[in-house]
């Protein structure tokens, strides 16, 4: 039952890492356990809820079902890679301004999914935004505030 380890190079939030890891390991575990990042969360491990979302090459990726071996030399952005409490990214600022969360556990999925979509579709309509968010869950149901924050960011971008 030997596992073949591999050296995987990742750039995460602008920092380069070389990791000796089982390439089948989902990216999420590398980010949250090897690199101790707090942004991406384990929600379901099945790619169904979005809590583990990161941005790779401009697209929202579910890190809980993405083997790290498929991402060698990839450039990855997590929620903490966007901005800080002191200098939040505009979409993070929109969520702060709208007080758009309760427990906050889902925010990685909500914010990064919305950002990746709006960056690629800056003129998206409300139904298109809705469609883009159709596989992201928030169990506190802060939906009204989150959608307001997303639209606020969209308008600021436009």
């Amino acid at each position: 039952m030997a596992v073949t380890m591999a050296t995987i190079s990742l750039t995460v939030n602008g920092r380069s890492h070389a990791l000796n890891v089982d390439p089948d390991t989902p990216l999420l575990y590398v980010l949250s356990d090897d690199l101790e990042l707090r942004g991406p969360k384990f929600g379901c491990g099945l790619g169904q809820c979005g809590a583990c979302t990161v941005i790779v090459r401009g697209r929202a990726v579910r890190s809980c079902v993405t083997p790290v071996g498929t991402l060698n030399r990839a450039d990855i952005t997590t929620l903490e890679g966007l901005g800080t409490s002191e200098r939040p990214h505009p979409i993070q600022q929109a969520f702060i301004d709208e007080q758009a969360a309760q427990c906050g556990f889902c925010l990685s999925g909500v914010i990064l999914t919305a950002k990746a979509f709006l960056d690629q579709n800056p003129r998206a309509t409300d139904p298109q935004i809705q469609q883009a968010m159709s596989t992201v869950l928030c169990r506190c149901f802060a939906h009204t505030r989150m959608l307001r924050a997303i639209k606020r960011y969209a308008q600021e971008k436009a």
Binding site: M1, A2, V3, D22, D24, T25, P26, Y29, S32, D33, E36, L37, R38, P40, K41, F42, G43, C44, G45, L46, Q48, C49, A51, T78, L79, E80, L82, T84, S85, P88, H89, Q92, F95, I96, Q99, A101, Q102, C103, G104, F105, L107, S108, V110, I111, I129, Q130, Q131, M133, S134, V136, L137, C138, R139, C140, F141, A142, H143, T144, R145, L147
Partner: protein
Amino acid sequence: MRSPEGPVRSETLILRRAQDERRVEGLAPRRRTVTMTPDARAALARAGFSRRDFLKTSGALIVGFSAAGAAQRIGLAQRGGGARGPQVDARQLDSWIAIATDGSVTAYTGKCELGQGISTAQLQLVAEELSVPIARVKLIQCDTSIAPDQGTTSGSQSTPTNFNERNLAQAGATAREALVRLASERLGAPVNQLAAADGVITVKGDASKRVSYGELVGGKKFSIPLSTTAKRKPASEWTVLGKPVGRVDMPAMATGQFEFVHNVRVPGMLHGRVVRPPAVGATLVSVDESSVRGLPGLVKVVVKKNFVGVVAEKPWQAIQAANRLKATWTPGVGLPSHRDFYDYLRKQKPSRDTFVVSSKDVDEKLAQAKEVLKATYLHPYQMHGSIGSSCAVADVQGDKATIWSPTQSAHPTRSGSALLLGLPVENVRVIFTRGSGCYGINGADTVSYDAALLSQAVGKPVRVQLSRRDEMAWENYGVAFVIDQRVGIDANGTIVAWDYEGWSPTLGGRPGYDRPGNVITGQLAGFEPAAFTPRTPAPDPGGAFDNGGNTAPSYVTGCVGGKCGGTGTVRSERVLSHTVKSHFFTGPLRSPSRLQNTFAHECFMDEVASRVKVDPVEYRLRHLSDARLSHVVREAAKAARWEARPSPRPDVRRTGIAGGRGISCVLYEGDNGYAAMVAEVDVDQATGRVRVKRIVVAQDCGPISNPDGMRNQLEGGALQGMSRALGEEVTWDDQKVTSIDWRTYHSLPLGFEVPAVESVLVNRTDVEATGSGETSITIVAAAIGNAIFDATGARIRQVPFTPERVKAALDARIGSSALL
């Protein structure tokens, strides 16, 4: 990295209203009985504890609290525990408030942040009472070594507990008065000539005469008891409390910097994974450790009775090992057919029967009534379904344990873990660390036990995060209900008698201080769930009317023992509930039982109003006696521009999209928040799909601590309730739960057509504060169900209102007299 160091004060007293206890679990008032299982007794014996010691030090003796009793318990605890730090005595100001030399304030609370915003509101409270900027206040929540024991953060009780004239509010007021007294001595000015602002006390009219809090007490103790006479600041003087202060945790959450329990890392930490049984009731036959031998990173396979888990160096390794581990189990006990479950539930014997109210004339009044209406309402098991599966970190080494836990019940979890681990309770520290939103008892308690057991087995810190399946298949579900309703109406169309009979299943619940078997891990490790005690027939209701479970509708007088505590006018009243055994663990899920009961009450009220052809708002008001409840009904109707007319609407068509509106209301728990809601829906009659377009909710919860926080709760409750009403239902086959992920348990995603949610806040500063976390969710299903009926003439009496179920109800209208 975290270490459990820092100030350690152990042994705490319990200072809670006895009433809080009944809030926790749900249905009827429940006296706390402490009966211990043989396992529990054995565990205590191993730890050198008698049952009596355990009860004394674990705080189980909360009934009949007295100062003398408390002192005695402290004495016993000190003798039993050896060398330990000073006590957290909840009667002492220093247990709640500390002021440092720089004037910064630290407040200690036993009510913790679960995502509901209570930490920000508590900071506002302390900042207000002490006249310091909120940024200068720090809050320590639910760390059993340094925070007072306030039981469980649940039941919408944090605001009533800490914002009225008790506990944290009382501590704030006591501290302010003490500071002013000290300043009076220091400055040589009478108390009434002093003013406090920004952490500084000055003599009015002479700003040069001033002294800061830091100068007065900085770094020293107050060493005074909580005053029983200290006056709260009147709401008219509030500058921080009552304002829409932003959540202090929001920036860290939005930028991924916030530390959840999932992010806790301690030196040398390993990762655990549990292996749950394949079927409900299956027990372990054997574990083949050779099936995982040699797997990279594997540290240990752990078996304790039916509890099985693995520990590995990395989480992915633990998952691989758990998946490969060959364990042999007996078949499960077999489950009743999901399809026929409600019939099964109604027929279950034995049952525990309770009258909430019984005027003993209901049969007679129904016989005399002009007409008797009846209907049966059905509600499924639903789950908390936290977005993040539950996680905890435990470090059990030798006879000491530290557990970082997202539990709502830090002190009870400490006691339960001590039992589970066979350690003296004072050797266990639970440090509350935020988890994913829980909405009641999700997997937080059970995963804390998982981590504790695995850590004890390897003698190193272990982190456990449950799989999605383990979270969903084994959590303590919100209970299913079958509810029969009957009313009699007189010649004027007025209700003259109301008869409720309900059935709901129970197993386990919150573990409390001494029942680790109330959740799956404890049971697997050999502890029994709380015993089910049948009782038939139900005794006459005693004491005062208690509608804590909202088992009685809002429209009855609630007369017990000659006193009437209800909010309505119907004098002939009977409310009988039957609790039966559940195959699945059950426990409080946001608005436990209240939601299910209120769905039945408020839909049935609508059916009666329709039958007598009276506008549903007017008909409700006609049967309400409570001015505050009536007021929120009117406020919701006004804000929604309610069109007064009977339901269904006069122009109902059988095809196409049909629009309608519905109303519902509740006095949550009979005394904990007034709310009313109007929902507007469109029903696609070809598919049965319901689209909720607008929700208006009006709420009166007394003085509002934070209006934006309250709106956030009302909005979230409304939409979570909508998700529960439209799609959520736990399913199972003949052996096991089949709702194990987000494809098999249906939560509305962020991308659904989210209705506009409008909140009307009724702020009353002349009454006591009540909760607002569970009000709006309680009345959503009824408001939507009533709106569907208004739109289509079809009555849906079963949650969830899936398109198939709605379509079936629409099809059943053919020839129905309900359709005009």
